[in-house]
């Protein structure tokens, strides 16, 4: 730990207590630092608690043991410094693309002309011109996620929490959205924590990949995944394929373990 972390996670445990059934230790002794404007992926098999860790950083769940600091202050509640994007978009279905994006700006108390201008700028950024007045139910999955990303970017959080944001999209759309996210991130640099179980996605998008173990979730290893250029051409480069292999080897055992605990 070099103390430069914008987000600092220190010795965090989290126990999941379902209303019925036995309690489960979801996260065990997690420590992690994320630097400003870094793109970090949290990678692990399903059920390893990677989303739980994201929700703790978001302040949606209470930190029970250990502590989480953002900009040096302990996290106690959600706040507009940490925007979140969910796998299933979480758009307000009764609001249009435009009014969904306006919502955060209204809550921030921006004056109306500025709100409208900002909303339009982010509609343009994610290429949804012409769909401003559409409801989420009228959009494709990719367009819904574009709207959700625009909604979160619009109120300008310094941290972007992404919970398997492309997990519900088909393979082609996913690849397009990944590249688009990288482009957006280059233009408006933010600290990103990106939860995924897709090794290739993690290696392609992130600068560092934190590999998590099967339940209870621990940080197994943090791997640097910086490449010179970051565009679809690297997907077939030798260094990229090797990196994917290296991380896949770390994840495989955990995925098998996760399967076994599920079966038992």
């Amino acid at each position: 730990m070099d103390g430069k972390g914008q987000i600092v996670v220190e010795r965090v445990n989290h126990t999941y207590r379902p209303p019925r059934g036995r309690t489960v230790l979801a996260l065990s002794d997690i420590s992690l630092e994320v630097r400003p404007r870094e793109f970090l992926a949290l990678l692990g098999p399903s059920g390893c608690g990677k989303s739980t860790l994201l929700y703790l950083v978001g302040g949606f769940l209470p930190t029970e043991a250990g502590r989480i600091l953002v900009e040096g202050k302990p996290v106690t509640a959600p706040g507009p410094d940490r925007g979140i994007v969910f796998q299933h978009f979480a758009l307000f279905p009764w609001k249009t693309v435009r009014t969904n994006i306006l919502y955060g700006l209204e809550r921030q108390g921006l004056p109306r002309p500025e709100r409208e201008k900002r909303a339009q700028a982010f509609i343009d950024l994610v290429g949804l011109n012409g769909f401003e007045e559409s409801y989420p139910s009228q959009l494709s999955g990719g367009m819904k996620q574009r709207t959700a990303i625009a909604r979160t970017l619009a109120f300008d959080p310094s941290i972007l929490l992404m919970d398997e944001p492309f997990g519900a999209l088909d393979a082609q759309t996913r690849l397009l959205m990944q590249t688009e996210l990288l482009n957006i991130w280059k233009r408006t640099p933010k600290t990103v924590i990106f939860v995924t179980h897709d090794v290739q996605e993690a290696v392609y998008l992130a600068e560092r990949v934190a590999v998590m173990s099967a339940r209870p979730g621990r940080i197994k290893k943090i791997v640097e995944t910086k490449f010179g250029a970051r565009d679809p051409s690297i997907l077939r480069s030798k260094e990229f394929v090797e990196k994917v292999d290296e991380i896949w080897n770390l994840v495989r055992d955990e995925a098998i373990k996760a399967q076994e605990t599920k079966a038992s």
Binding site: G58, Y135, S137
Partner: protein
Amino acid sequence: MQGMTQTGFRYLPLVLLALGWEAVARLNIIDSQALPPLTHIATAWVDLVRDGELVDNGASSLYRGSMGLLLAVVVGGSLGILMARWRLLDVFVNPLVELFYPLPKSALIPVTVLWLGFGDGSKILLIFLGCMIPVTIGAYNGARGSDQALVWSARSMGANRLRLLWDVVVPSALPELLNGIRTALALAFILLVSSELIVSQQGFGYLIGYLGSTGAYEGMYAVVLTVAFLGFAADRLYQLLMQWLLQWRE
């Protein structure tokens, strides 16, 4: 054009029923006292409108019905949503709702009269009590189903608790709440007419009872059919309102 023809076909059975009714009454297959011809009923209806009886009694009924329903929507809707969000209230009120749910609300007619007399108050109270149940249950189920991710999204964008309730929980509850209100609307008509029939000096129910007891069966039928038509029209209008409010659903 095609839509109109389709609507026409949909109500064809009604037209056939009306023709059958007229024929049966005219041919005296059923005692024409018990089942007067529709044409006679129409004449009686025009008379009732002319001398103001139908309009006066109707106005009084509509006032009672809409007041009772409005109160039920406001109180029941708020109660259901607060119950879904506030555990203590849920624990306290839910058993009451469950107990009250199977009670035939018409059994409360004498009780509400005992409390508030023969006038508007007792009818409004009865309709309010009866209609509150489906509205509360609709709001409660709808609000409980609100998506955690939507709540979290709104919170992270800076919504406080009150905002959250109004911006996320209420619209999430809307589809089920509106269905509950539709049930309540039908119930309001039932409770209105039955309470007026039993204890009242005004209203549709009173008029039906009065005309029936004086042997003016054609007029009685005219009022019954008016109530039936109003109930149908109210439900249709309400469905249009629902469609408009829920246009975001596909």
